[in-house]
């Protein structure tokens, strides 16, 4: 490995391309730490937003009009306001209000925590619509057939509706999840140590803005590219002939 790092050192001395993230151990550690933060922030938000989305879709099928209205209000709020402002709202305004109400000093959650909450609710709002459309795409006749076979409504949901619905949902859901990786960069604004934030610190220390910018751009392209490839593979593997598309 040292050979690789030394090559980058040579790159700096010979060509002036300064990539300390490879040959300087401190920079290297924090850079790759930042990438890891981006990855697990994305994964946590993906998981949470799917749960929120499914919950919201379930609630939207409720008989009670006020539950439906609240879900609608939530969706419209998160879709028609900027995600950055939402993040600030949660991190500064809500955090401060919660802190004064509960008496906890220095904020209830960390910046990472609020980023998770804000981004998950943001992505979750889109997911509710995606799941609802998927559920509605399942022909009523299939649900009736399952009913007449004696399934409870929960069983119908688990064994008939969701398996068919999620095949219809998957392309849009994947799109949303891929967007989530890109949206994690917004956490920069509240000093979450993800890739972009760490890179900013590095280029401020080392004065290698062009090199770092190119590297950061490349890192995100690769991360998104990997996710896109995984998603395509997944979509292909679950295809049911004659249904969905």
């Amino acid at each position: 490995m040292d050979v690789v790092w030394e090559w980058f050192q040579w790159l700096n001395s010979e060509h002036g391309i300064k990539l300390t993230i490879f040959y300087d151990e401190w920079d290297r550690n924090r850079f790759f730490g930042g990438i890891w933060t981006t990855i697990h922030l994305s994964l946590v938000c993906m998981a949470l937003s799917i749960v929120i989305g499914m919950g919201g879709a379930w609630l939207q099928m409720s008989k009670f009009i006020w539950i439906r209205r609240i879900v609608q209000g939530y969706i419209q709020f998160f879709r028609n306001t900027p995600p950055l402002v939402q993040l600030y709202f949660f991190y500064f305004a809500v955090d401060s209000a919660l802190a004064s109400v509960t008496g906890i000093e220095g904020g209830v959650f960390s910046s990472y925590g609020w980023a998770v909450i804000s981004l998950s609710f943001f992505a979750g709002a889109f997911n509710v619509e995606i799941f609802r459309a998927g559920i509605e795409s399942v022909p009523k006749s299939m649900v009736e057939a399952a009913d007449s076979l004696g399934f409870t409504s929960f069983q119908v949901f688990c064994y008939v509706t969701m398996p068919l619905a999620y095949r219809v949902c998957l392309p849009a859901l994947n799109n949303n999840l891929i967007n989530l990786i890109k949206t994690t960069t917004v956490a920069y604004a509240i000093a979450v140590p993800e890739t972009l934030y760490i890179s900013n610190q590095i280029w401020s220390d080392e004065y290698n803005v062009p090199e770092m910018m190119n590297v950061v751009w490349g890192v995100y392209i690769i991360l998104v590219g990997i996710l896109v490839a995984i998603m395509h593979r997944w979509e292909k593997s679950i295809r049911v002939p004659g249904f969905g598309n």
């Binding site: 209205r69 209000g73 879709r79 028609n80 402002v85 939402q86 709202f89 500064f92 004064s100």
Partner: protein, 300 residues
């Protein structure tokens, strides 16, 4: 030259129907950004906002030892948050201006990039595809950083120095992902036109260029409109990112105002106030998009 038929019957606005979220008939990946909703949501939101502000005003009154209420604070700072510092373009208005410029530029570039993706020339086709994928998969904030840090802020044209304002660079940076997404919309719309149209145009001795501009693209306009409007909404929601890079838009001026007041009771109202502007701007557009989608789907 008419591009599309007028519908025979006027479309119904679901204003007085009971509040039910109806299903999407032309649900596709691009429509996930829009939703059918009742006018009552706007009312409900307004009520909620007013209620919250009132509660907060009361709370602030109880807490504060000055005479200034939250509501008065909002009013005091609104001109700055909305219009920017005097003599300068800034504030929420700047957000909108940036969104217009980015959308216009992005649409123009995206149209050509989309046509490039269907070019018969493999070099053009592959490089158009590569550029589209590159800018589709890049985080918008990274692109903003990239353009704003690496693009010069002063250019010399014919001996005259021009200072490029930060928000111009920001608008250009935001136009790049829009370009990529419009390119995909164009490509998808062209692909959805039945091959029979290409064949009959070919049989009538139309050249490929004529076929694309006279026959295929006019038919695409209708189907491209809803996703295009959807991307405009997404773009507008992304304009506050420019505040991170020092542009005096609505978000950064709100933060300045809050810093000037340094009262934590004003945090929630101020942020909600700013968010409500975005909401009021974006919600009607989203609703219109939904209506257009439905109307075009019905008339197909």
């Amino acid at each position: 030259m008419k591009l599309y038929q007028k519908p025979k019957t006027p479309t119904d606005l679901p204003v007085l129907k009971p509040f039910v979220v109806s299903g999407s008939k032309t649900w596709s990946m691009e429509t996930f950004g829009t939703i059918t909703a009742d006018r009552r949501i706007l009312v409900a939101f307004a009520i909620f906002l007013i209620a919250w502000l009132s509660v907060d005003v009361v709370y602030a009154q109880i807490q504060s030892d000055t005479n200034q209420s939250a509501f008065a604070t909002l009013i005091k700072w609104t001109p700055l948050m909305l219009l920017g510092p005097p003599g300068e373009l800034g504030g929420f208005v700047l957000n909108i201006v940036v969104s217009f410029i980015a959308m216009a530029l992005g649409t123009f570039l995206g149209l050509w990039l989309g046509l490039g993706q269907i070019s018969l020339n493999p070099i053009i086709r592959r490089s158009s595809w590569a550029i589209t994928q590159l800018f589709r998969n890049s985080p918008w904030l990274v692109l903003l950083f990239y353009i704003m840090l690496l693009m010069p802020f002063r250019v010399t044209i014919a001996g005259v120095d021009f200072d490029i304002p930060g928000w111009w660079k920001a608008a250009f940076a935001l136009s790049l992902p829009i370009m990529a997404n419009i390119s995909e919309i164009v490509r998808g719309a062209i692909a959805s036109i039945p091959t029979g149209q290409w064949e009959s145009a070919e049989s009538l001795a139309f050249s490929r260029t004529q076929t694309i501009w006279q026959i295929i693209l006019p038919q695409c306009v209708k189907r491209m409109l809803p996703p295009w409007m959807n991307w405009y909404c997404i773009l507008t929601m992304s304009t506050p990112l420019v505040s991170i890079l020092g542009v005096s838009d609505g978000m950064s001026l709100t933060q300045d105002a809050l810093a000037a007041e340094s009262r934590s009771e004003f945090l929630i109202p101020m942020y909600l106030w700013l968010m409500s502007w975005f909401f009021i701007y974006s919600y009607p557009i989203a609703k219109l998009t939904r209506r257009l989608e439905h109307r075009f789907a019905v008339n197909e």
